[in-house]
Every structure is written in C-alpha cells, then in structure tokens.
Amino acid sequence: MMGFNPGVRKRTWFRGRDWPYHIALIVTALGIAFPLLYATLIATQNNTEIFSFKMTPGSALASNFESVWFKRDFAGAMWNSTQQALYVTTGKTVLSLMAGLAFVYFKFRGKWLVFFLVLVTLMMPTEVMILAMFRLVSGFGWQDTMASIVVPFLASATGAFLFRQHFSNMPVELLEASQIDGATPVKFLTRVLIPLSWNVIAALFVIQFVYTWNMFLWPSLIIRDESAQVTQVALQTLTNIDGALTYGPLMLSAIIASVPPAVVFLLMQKPFMSGFALGQDK
C-alpha cells in the first residue's frame, strides 16, 4: 500500500517517524474495541462485582455461562440462527446464480421488464412494508416456523446484479467453447461459471450471512415462541433472569451471539475484500 503523501514513501528506509502513527492506530483500535472489552469483563462478573466496579476479571464466568447456555437454552437460539443463516445464504446464492445466468446468456422477450422488476426492488427495503408483510405471512399460518424467516429473503436483487455483472465481464469464448462441447446451461453454470466466481460467491456469502444472522425486527415480530427464536431476539429475554437485571449473562450472550458472524467475516476477509471491490466498480 502506498500513501498519497509522497513523504511517507521515504519512510520505507527512514523508520524513525512511524511510531506516532503506530501509537495513534493502537489507541484507535483500543477505542473501537472498548465496548467489547468492557462487555467481556462484565461477562466474567456477578452482580456484586459489577456494582463495586471491579476492573479485574470476576469469578462468575462459569455460572453466567450456565444460566445463559443451559437455563435459558441460548444454544437452541444459536442453532435456529445457524439454520436460518445457512438456508438463506445458500438459497440466495443459488437463486442469484440462476438469475445472473438468465440475464447474461439468454435473449428472451420481456427481458427488459424482468430486469426492471428486479431493479426496482433495490429501492424497496422490507422494513417499509413490514406491517403488510407481517399480515401476509401470518395469513399463511407461518408464525413460529423456520419458513417465515427464510423464504421471504431467498431472492436478492443485489446478488442477481452482482453475478450478472461478473458474468458479463467474462470472455465470450467461454460460452462458445462450452456450446461446441454440447454443454447444457446447467453444466455450463456448474463446470465453468461457478469455478470462476468463487470470489464473488464468497463476498456474497459474507454479506448475506452477516445480514441474516444479525436480523432483528422481522423475527421479533413473526416468531413469538421462545424455542423457535433466533439469537438476536433471544438476547432480549436475557435482560432478566430469575426476576432480576442480570448484566453478566447478558454480556456473555451478546459476545457468544457475535462469534459466528465474526468468524465468517475474519475467515473470508480476503475474498470478501476482492469481491467487494468487484461489486464496487460499475
């Protein structure tokens, strides 16, 4: 990476003036991490330790974990969220790949209309129509089911356009060669296009996984049964355990709830960055 201050480049051999930036960055990183570090500290403490504002790790990590994981079945909520996130992410990727294939490699009547219909949904966030959607999905009798938090989110205009753009940047010869080989569109997709699209698929996976895992408003409306609840909403019931405000278990569960998206984000950071850059150009 090159700085846009030409003076900076000289510092490759003049290291002396780097340390102010290192210190500033470390302080910034600590500042950004502070809410999480503080929550980690609280997660190890019981209420007495919290109210005496001890700044050292407390004694209650094990009992906090027990009340979160076993007493309140946070594990169940985590499992529900995992299923939801994997279903939505997989479904969205498959549907987007199919739509991208149709947009780029087929000519058909009414294509502009379909394109327009998909394009317009970019300015239709679910939240502005959430009341009607709640009534509609409740009308299907889908309350408290996995279908209610998966099926409405399976289609993705973002994903369809991301793949459309990626495919249309690929050389035409790919299609010609595979047509000479007599490959069907599905074979062309699975044998040629998908192996060349892992970056985009990974980027979409990270975005969709984090988006689905972090969903709050919709599950809080449609899922009322605690055993079918997802992680983010289950956090809310943890503000109160055994009739008292319990900070330690709440902080612990907030941290646990952040582990899966953080792991996905960290593991797939590289393809995410390159795929994002790809999604960024016009």
Binding site: N5, Y21, L36, M124, I207, L235
Partner: protein
C-alpha cells in the same frame, strides 16, 4: 369536483407538450392530454372516488388532487420517453438496452423463465404484494388480526399533516423556489469571489429550508391528529447524527490507517471488525456502558469528574446522544472499509503536484483528497442513511425503547409501535408510506447523481 381535476390534468398534458417537447404535432397534444387524464384518474378510481365525496374537505381533498397530479406526472414522463425514442433523442433507452443486450443461448423460450422463476416468485409474493398492500392498508382503519376494516380515505394521512391546506401548498413551493434561486445564483458566480461565498451560504440555507418546510408541513398534534413533527424531528436528528459522526470518524480513522505501516492488514482487521457486530449487540454493549446504576460511563463521570449524570433514558439529549454513539460505532467499521478502498482511487500524481506547489497537509486533504473521495462519500451517505432509517431499530429497542416520551422513537420504531404494539395497521401503514416515499426519493436522487446502484446491506 373530480371533473375539475381531470380537466386540469388534460391542460397539464397540453402545456407539457407546448413547453417541453421539441417536435409538436396535434396528435402529440392529444396523446399527451389523454395520457395525463388517464394517469390522473388511476388513483381516484382505485379509491372509489372517496377523495371527492361531498363530506371530504380540506387537506383530504388536497391530497386527492395531489395524487391526481402525481399520476398525471408519471404518465407524462412515460409519454415523453416514448416521444424521445421516436425522435431518436433518447440515449437513456439505448443504455438500458445495452444493459440487457447480451445473450448467447438459443434454446427453448422457457429456459430463461425457469431460471428466473424462483427469484421472480419470491419478489412478487414477498416484496411487490406487501408493497401494494401497504398502500391499500394505509387508506383503511383496521386492527391487527381483525377481519373487518373500514375505508377512511385519506384520513390516516391528513392526520399526519398540518391542518390548513394552503400551508401544504405554500411551504414546498417556497423551499423549491429557494433551492432553484440558490442554484441560479451559484451558476452566475465564479470561484474565489465574495459573491460565490454568498451563493454557497445560500445553497446551504436552501437545503436547510427543505428540512424546515417538511417540518412545517407535518402535524403538530392536537385535535385528534398525530404529533408527527416530533417523529420527523427525532428521525432527522438521529439519522443526521449517525451519518455525520459515523462518516467523519470513519474518514479520520481510514486516513490515519492508510499509511505504509508494518502490519497494515492486522490493523485493518482490528479497525473494521464491528462490521460483523449486529445492531442488537451494539445496543446491548452500549446499554451496559450507559446503564445508570452499573454502567462505567455514569460511574466514571461521578468518581473522576464529580458530575452527577442523570439517567440517560430520562434526558432527551443524553438518550439521543447514546443512540447516535452506539449506532455510529457499529457502522464505523463499514465506513473505514470503504474509505480505505476509496483512498486507493485518489490520484497520487495530483497529491505530489500539490506537495510541489507547497500545499499544507490540510490544503492537500481539502483540495485533492476529499474531491477524489466524493463517489465513495456519496455511496456511504446513502448506505449510512438507510442504516440509520432501519437497522437502528434493534439498537433503540435495547437501549431506550423510544424513551423519553418518544424522543428516540424514529420513524421505523414508531411504525412498529403503532402498527404492531397498538395493533393499528392502517395508521402504521400510512407512516410506512411516508417512509417509503423518503427511501424512493433518496434512491432516485442517487440514481440520478451517480448512476450507481445502491446495495441495502444485502437485502
């Protein structure tokens, strides 16, 4: 009364051809007038002409005419694109055709439809259907879970608006006049003059006047109406706060991090990880920090500075600040990520030229780096605004639940409170429609300005 509106629409269609279409023929005048009448009659007939019933008066009647005007305007835009294509003027449709030109397989006509069917089915059932239902619900009085509903025409909307119809006409006209006046002044000035500085200030004032005009158009409450000014003000304060704080800090940290340092990618990870944190968890973490009895913030203020901080949920300023801080913290990683990418597109040659010209670091930043970042700034402006409109719901729900007295109840929070908690679907849907209009406005503004597409966090 409906007839007056339709005659007005026909006149509008006529005038549109007279002043905005280059090649004018009698047929075009006729086509345009008929299209305007057609567009204008869509909403009155879809709503059973309720806006023109004898008992409908005041703001409700004005809304009926307003919707007719919108319908006519949409029809005229379509007619114009049709005329332009016939005249060979339109390059817009060429660009659109270019987008969809590609193709290759020549198989059965049904193959692409099979590929697109699942996506289309879901979009139609779970996006288009609820979108249309939101509009129909907004004209009704209906309870959640109750099968019966009553048609209330525009009542759900008129109770969100100021009671005097003339205000609804005058304020937007004044605001639009100010904006165009400022743009005109700006176009007649040259850089570096006092006149330019005046015009710059006038532009800012005109932009502010749009916000103020909207405020004045909403109902102040009382007389059975909703105090929608409060909801509007809360939404504006919190979303502007999140956008300004989140983007300024994001830019500053990215500027700091964008240096050729050892361990650069480790720093980057340490700076952008809050991207993976959910708005709900952000709410939980800041709930802890600001907690009036156990939180570190209150404790530190008291024991270090001797300041007795009131419960943040009981103070408007503190509650709004806490929400803005928590939400900006969560979006900070995202902003840093994009600004780091944006810096890579800043021209190094220009920066070097500025250094040779003896520009100070601050001048370099303002004159070279900042303009180079404008596409990314604009993109972030829209995504941050969408985040502040919707995702913030979870953070608010964990921290303040809209307290004190609705001062942190932004539009989406208010919609759920009314529509789900109070079970008043019609009123909630009416507010949803206003939010919908705001989102469409922002998106169209973005389409026009940059031609780029926005991604709503992957929705």
């Amino acid at each position: 009364m409906l007839i007056i509106g339709l005659i007005g629409a026909a006149g509008l269609g006529f005038l549109y051809v007279r002043f905005f279409i280059q090649r004018r023929t009698p047929i075009r005048y006729a086509v345009s007038s008929v299209a305007a009448v057609g567009g204008a009659s869509v909403t009155p007939f879809a709503m059973g002409q309720c806006g023109f019933a004898p008992e409908t008066t005041g703001v409700d009647r004005l809304l009926a005419y307003g919707l007719m005007a919108v319908g006519a305007a949409v029809a005229l835009v379509i007619v114009r694109s049709f005329f332009d294509r016939r005249d060979g003027l339109s390059n817009e449709s060429d660009a659109f055709a270019g987008e969809i030109r590609s193709g290759g397989y020549r198989m059965g006509w049904w193959v692409p439809w099979v590929l697109l069917a699942p996506t289309l089915a879901i979009l139609v059932v779970f996006l288009y259907t609820p979108a249309i239902q939101t509009f129909t619900l907004s004209t009704r009085l209906t309870r959640l879970g109750a099968p019966r509903s009553v048609d209330v025409c525009f009542r759900n909307f008129s109770e969100l608006l100021v009671a005097e119809p003339w205000r609804l006409v005058a304020y937007p006209l004044i605001a639009i006049g100010l904006v165009y006046g400022a743009r005109f002044w700006l176009s007649r000035t040259s850089p570096g003059t006092w006149s330019r500085r005046g015009a710059d200030l006038a532009t800012i004032a005109a932009a502010l006047s749009v916000f103020i005009a909207l405020y004045a158009m909403f109902s102040p409450g009382g007389g059975g109406n909703v105090d929608f000014r409060a909801v509007y003000l809360t939404t504006v304060i919190i979303s502007v706060g999140v956008v300004v704080v989140g983007m300024t800090l994001g830019l500053a940290v990215a500027y700091l991090a964008y240096r050729s340092l050892r361990g650069g990618s480790a720093y980057r990870t340490l700076l952008i990880w809050p991207y993976a944190i959910s708005p709900a968890v952000a709410g939980v973490l800041f709930f802890m920090i600001f907690d009036p009895t156990a939180g570190i913030f209150t404790h530190a203020m008291e024991s270090w500075f001797g300041i007795d901080v009131p419960n943040y949920r009981e103070s408007t300023l503190l509650a709004q600040t806490a929400i803005i801080l928590a939400s900006s913290w969560k979006i900070l990683g995202y902003n840093i990520l994009f600004y780091l990418a944006g810096f890579q597109s800043v021209s190094l040659d220009q920066v070097e030229a500025a250094v040779i010209d003896g520009a100070s670091p601050w001048q370099r930043f303002v004159k070279v780096v900042w303009p180079g970042l404008s596409p990314i700034t604009f993109f972030l402006l829209v995504t941050n605004l969408t985040y502040a409109f919707f995702e913030i719901y979870a953070t608010i729900d964990f921290m303040t639940k809209g307290a004190p007295a609705g001062d942190t109840s932004v539009a989406i929070y208010e919609i759920i409170r009314i529509g789900v908690n109070n079970g008043d679907l019609g009123r909630g849907a009416a507010q949803s429609v206003l939010l919908f209009i705001a989102v469409i406005g922002i998106t169209l503004w973005q389409f026009r300005t940059s031609g780029r597409r926005v991604t709503y966090g992957g929705a």
